[in-house]
């Protein structure tokens, strides 16, 4: 037996002000119900959730490649200039004995963005195919995605701070490489994709359509 849902009862919750609205008597021609309190456009699900999430996810995936292959920091000093990618930086730290730092960079800057891309992709695929199983696991994965999304920005912050701090006139100079922009774009785009995705689709096959 299907449990009652707000959608089937003709009720919509305003995401902005939390107001519960009825839209059962809204004339179908209009189909643009707005919140009685704040006037926000009400919908049963985020509009175009899957295609928007997919588009943003694809953009992030494309930029993930230059983010890791191109140099993120360019150091120039009398000892010579050096261009470091994220991976070579981690390698340098590892060889230098600072392996905890290397592990942190490896996880925060390479594995987490990659994991986010794969996880969100898997979620999208599962929703697209209207899987019914493992709903709870998928919901937890999604919550995790939302929570860790912002932490990938640490790399960008470190690069930005270094760039401003290490400007010894004529002696040493650190500038950000093209990978920094790509990497920042990856983080922002995955966060946007995560937000565009509507987790209610995970449950829909079970609750709404069953």
């Amino acid at each position: 037996m299907r449990p009652p849902t707000a959608a089937r009862a003709g009720l919509l919750l305003c995401p902005a002000c939390g107001m519960l609205n009825r839209c059962g008597r809204t004339p179908p021609v209009l189909r643009r119900p707005g919140c009685a309190h704040c006037g926000l456009h009400l919908r049963a699900r985020k509009p175009h959730s899957q295609s928007r999430a997919l588009a943003l996810l694809l953009a992030a995936a494309i930029l993930y490649a230059p983010a890791n292959l191109l140099p993120i920091l360019e150091t120039s000093s009398p000892f010579g200039s050096q261009r470091d990618t994220i991976l070579s930086g981690a390698k340098f730290l590892w060889n230098g004995g600072a392996w905890p730092l290397a592990v942190v960079i490896l996880i925060a800057s390479i594995l987490i963005p990659l994991g986010k891309l794969l996880t969100l992709g898997a979620l999208l695929y599962s929703v697209h195919r209207r899987w019914r199983g493992a709903c709870l696991t998928r919901a937890r994965l999604y919550r995790m995605l939302e929570r860790i999304g912002r932490w990938s920005m640490t790399d960008i912050f470190v690069a930005a701070i270094l760039t401003k701090l290490v400007q010894l006139r004529g002696l040493a100079r650190i500038t950000v490489g093209p990978a920094a922009i790509a990497f920042g774009a990856v983080v922002v785009l995955t966060m946007m994709a995560t937000r565009a995705f509507d987790p209610r689709f995970i449950w829909d096959p079970e609750t709404v359509e069953a």
Partner: protein, 510 residues
């Protein structure tokens, strides 16, 4: 359905103008950016080459750069060995523009800090680490495998100027400067022993525009260090410049003959002389060898000592030997001399040496008959160097000319300590010829003269006695004499030291 009042009815809001498809512009832009970055990355990848070195000191894979005229043009990617482990093979990636530079005669070398006598190079590598320098060749044939030079080439390709070769007896350090009127106009590029091991071929590079002053008659000589020459002319010290004092160098100047002044072609072979004097000597085309047999000490006569005719250097001593005659139990010192008649001819203003067609031997015989003799003379009181002087001594005893002896002999006339003997002999001969029997009436006169002389002598005695041994003048006189003697000893000691250790001028006495 529920107990309380129903939630309020939703209101109608206007349709948003946002087209949901616009979201796909984001991945398209991302793809464009990603593609552009990828293309740029691929395009920035240049050719990969390998360079063989003897060792890889200071070279680090992934860090060492390749520089052309101090502009970074590549990076060392990998360092490995050749299959036989004889060389280190460096794999390097260059920027794209460098593609056409990789030709047959492009040269690579490792730049490290180097402190040579004349220059300090690569100081910046102390901080930044070694790098690989390259010099683009002019060939058109592409190449990807190179053999690295052990040292940076002295002259980088494209420097205008010309290369020449000078052959001499001694090597000159590679990189030593070449001077023209004391201006540094080039450098020594190579210094290689000839295959037969007799001479050293020295590669010279003279920068433009100075290379046009190198003509086929130009003379090159070693300008190295201090030249302290001790010869009959005394002590001569020459220093070209402070740099040459340390590392040596080469100077050149137009030769004395002004006839041929066509610019020397590239690679022209010159003779490298030991000194400027030697370089500027007239080339001696004809040479005649003679022997002079001395029966006295030849101390102070060195091989190379000049042979002069009335002060004009005509030739040089080429050998000093010793003859032993068992019949007479006597030793003689035959001195081989070489005479260049051309020098005499060059100075001749009137008349000619060749007015009579005759052999050199016949001519010598005539000259000897006229009194031509060789003498050993002291050229310099300071150094005690001797030379062979030729002159006419019409009073010299006649000698038998030996037409068989080779080389022809110029008879010797004793000099120096022996000079006194000859004079005495002459006096004795004169005394012998004096008409002593006719001198009877003269004796009275002689007595008067003697008495006068006696008076003069006693006068002198009085004068001298005024300088009593205790008088201050006498003491001053003695002291002055002693000082002179001391000074003379010091000078002679200095000359001795310089002769044996000319380098002590620079380094001091050890």
């Amino acid at each position: 359905m529920s107990d309380g009042p129903d939630p309020p009815e939703a209101v109608v809001v206007p349709r948003s103008r946002f087209l949901p498809e616009l979201i796909w512009a984001i991945p398209v832009v991302a793809a464009l950016i990603g593609g552009w970055l990828a293309v740029r990355a691929i395009r920035s990848h240049g050719p990969t080459i390998t360079i063989s070195f003897r060792d890889a000191a200071g070279l680090v894979a992934g860090k060492t750069k390749l520089r052309y005229r101090d502009v970074e043009v590549g990076e060392v990617r990998d360092i490995g060995f050749s299959p036989d482990r004889a060389t280190v093979v460096i794999t390097a990636e260059l920027v794209r523009e460098a593609g056409p530079w990789l030709v047959e005669d492009t040269r690579f070398w490792a730049v490290r800090a180097r402190v040579a006598a004349g220059e300090v190079t690569g100081l910046e590598t102390l901080l930044s680490g070694a790098y690989i320098g390259l010099d683009v060749g002019s060939s058109r044939r592409a190449r990807r495998e190179f053999i690295g030079l052990e040292e940076a080439p002295i002259v980088s390709g494209g420097t205008p100027g010309r290369a020449f070769v000078a052959r001499g007896a001694r090597a000159i350090g590679v990189g030593s400067p070449i001077f023209f009127h004391r201006m540094q106009v080039g450098q020594v590029t190579t210094s290689e022993l000839d295959a037969d091991g007799r001479q050293v071929s020295i590669g010279l590079f003279v920068r433009a525009p100075f290379d046009r002053y190198v003509t086929t008659s130009t003379r090159f000589w070693e300008a190295g260090g201090v030249r302290a020459t001790l010869d009959t002319a005394g002590v001569k010290i020459e220093v070209e410049s402070l740099v040459t004092l340390l590392v040596g160098g080469i100077s050149f100047e137009p030769g004395p003959d002004t006839g041929d002044v066509s610019p020397a072609p590239t690679g022209h072979r010159f003779v490298l002389f030991r000194s400027r004097d030697e370089a500027m000597k007239q080339p001696d085309t004809e040479a005649e060898n003679y022997t002079v047999v001395f029966r006295q000490t030849v101390r102070g006569l060195a091989i190379g000592a000049p042979v002069e005719f009335r002060g004009i250097a005509l030739g040089e001593v080429t050998g000093i030997g010793l003859d032993y005659d068992p019949a007479t139990l006597d030793f003689a010192t035959p001195v081989e001399v070489r005479i260049y008649p051309g020098r005499l001819r060059a100075r001749l203003r009137h008349g000619s040496l060749d007015d009579q067609p005759e052999s050199a031997q016949a001519r010598l015989r005539r000259l000897v008959d006229r009194g031509l003799r060789a003498q050993l003379r002291s050229g310099s009181l300071l150094t005690g160097q001797k030379f062979v002087a030729l002159d006419f001594f019409p009073n010299a005893p006649r000698v038998k000319f030996d037409p068989v002896r080779r080389p022809d002999e110029i008879p010797a006339l004793p000099t120096g300590g022996d000079d006194l003997q000859t004079s005495l002999a002459a006096v004795a001969r004169k005394v012998e010829r004096l008409p002593l029997d006719d001198v009877g009436p003269l004796i009275g006169d002689v007595r008067q003269v003697m008495a006068k002389a006696d008076r003069a002598l006693s006068d002198a005695d009085r004068v001298v006695s005024q300088f009593s041994p205790t008088s201050p003048q006498r003491a001053d006189f003695d002291e002055a004499l002693q000082q002179i003697a001391r000074a003379a000893r010091s000078v002679s000691g200095l000359a001795d030291t310089l002769e044996r250790h000319p380098e002590s001028l620079i380094r001091g006495r050890r």
